[in-house]
């Protein structure tokens, strides 16, 4: 079980301060719903937690450590799907350094998100919603402790949203944690919430 601690975090974009003095703690099994108007810095907060953006001040620690002690995964606005590769190849080799998954695991994940039949279809022929489902499948395979989901509902149909809720509940039950930005309510038991 790990703990994410954020103390006095503030972020600056060019000259303007997006948010300041953000503090929260999140332990395994819990999730944080980040809310805020457009431009409030929700995505920047997630990118800061992912280690992409350096905070202007404040610290982010994972189980008391600063470094990448826990495996975290960021699902941003871009699907990170290579159009030249098939759905199955995208999961296996699309992002080098992802946890290696066997062919059976990949197929199982694809079936779970309803892309079982589209495994060998080049990703360029997948619809936007199907790409989001592919991202969900990747999320399952990455086996990360901390999920950082930026508007994960975008582009998903109602079944897809249900699926996302199911995966989130499983993830939390397994001791994982998640920070999610979303304007819509998610089909998960209400977690902590943070307004930016």
């Amino acid at each position: 079980m790990f703990q994410l601690n954020v103390r006095g975090l503030s972020c600056q974009r060019a000259e303007n301060i997006l948010f300041s003095g953000i503090s929260f703690a999140l332990e395994g099994g819990a999730w944080l719903h980040v809310k805020g108007r457009n431009g409030a810095g929700k995505s920047t907060l997630l990118r800061t937690l992912a280690g992409l953006v350096r905070p202007a001040s404040g610290v982010v620690t994972f189980s008391g450590r600063l470094g990448p002690a826990v495996r975290r995964v960021l699902c941003g606005h871009q699907a990170a799907v290579k159009r030249e590769l098939s759905a199955e190849e995208n999961l296996r080799v699309g992002i080098p350094g992802d946890s290696p998954a066997s062919a059976a695991q990949v197929q199982a994940a694809l079936t779970k998100v309803g892309l079982g039949k589209a495994a060998s279809v080049p990703a360029r022929y997948l619809s936007e919603g199907q790409k989001r489902r592919l991202v969900l499948a990747r999320l399952l395979l990455q086996c990360a402790d901390l999920w950082l989901l930026d508007e994960p509902v975008n582009g998903l149909d109602s079944d897809g949203v249900e699926l996302l809720g199911l995966f989130l509940r499983e993830h939390l039950a397994n001791g994982g944690a998640a920070v999610v930005t979303s304007h819509q309510p998610l089909p998960v038991a209400v977690g902590k919430s943070l307004a930016l």
Partner: protein
């Protein structure tokens, strides 16, 4: 498998799936260098005299032309972000990408260069020196180019900017690369130039991936 070889295989697979861009770079190399014999005329002594510079400049520009391919696609579709967030050594990953870029741009250029050597009426020994200088030289060009490519990632007009940034750094490579061939054509030993070229390559192999990785982190911030 190590992150280096995983990245290498991934990028080569992507090149094989979409070969058009790589082919365009090679076509540019052959055509640009072929224009000179046509323009200058079939005087073999003169052609032999200008061959080192022209073949090397054509190779250099061809590598430059292929540079945007290195990070731009991954940057635009978000995979680069995932690579940076991932739990792997970004330096080794970047080295894998650079070597894949070299294998799909530099090595084909080297393989095609004998075709040009015929047009410039180079003999067999000079041809070997040319291949021997281009082989480490193109890898060096890819390594240096990766730094410029990462620094200009996501900027508008990055193509022009990367040229301005990288071309001055390419000068030493050109001096020693073309110098090797020139020395050979003048009847001198080309070894000194080749050694210096390989020394530069060793230096770049050590530093360029980490500098590029740092530049990528800045670009994604």
């Amino acid at each position: 498998m190590s992150i280096f070889s995983l990245t290498l295989r991934r990028d080569l697979l992507l090149v094989i799936r979409e070969p058009a861009q790589g082919m365009a770079v090679l076509a540019f190399f052959v055509m640009a260098a072929s224009l000179f014999p046509i323009g200058v005329g079939p005087e073999s002594a003169l052609l032999r005299r200008i061959a080192p510079g022209i073949i090397w400049v054509a190779a250099l520009l061809a590598v430059l032309l292929g540079l945007p391919r290195l990070f731009e696609a991954d940057f635009l579709d978000g995979t680069l972000e995932q690579m940076v967030v991932g739990p792997v050594s970004l330096g080794l990953l970047v080295l894998g990408k650079i070597v894949a870029h070299w294998l799909s741009t530099g090595v084909p250029i080297v393989l095609l260069s004998p075709l040009l050597a015929i047009q410039f009426s180079l003999d067999r020994d000079s041809l070997l020196v040319m291949v021997g200088s281009l082989l480490p030289g193109t890898l060096l060009l890819s390594l240096i180019g990766a730094i410029g490519s990462a620094l200009t990632l996501g900027l508008r007009n990055s193509g022009v900017l990367v040229t301005v940034l990288v071309l001055p750094l390419y000068v030493p490579v050109l001096v020693f690369g073309a110098g090797a061939l020139e020395a050979d054509l003048a009847g001198m030993d080309a070894a000194a130039h080749l050694y210096l070229l390989v020394a530069l390559l060793a230096l770049a192999l050590f530093f360029a991936p980490w500098v590029t990785a740092a530049a990528l982190r800045i670009a994604l911030e």
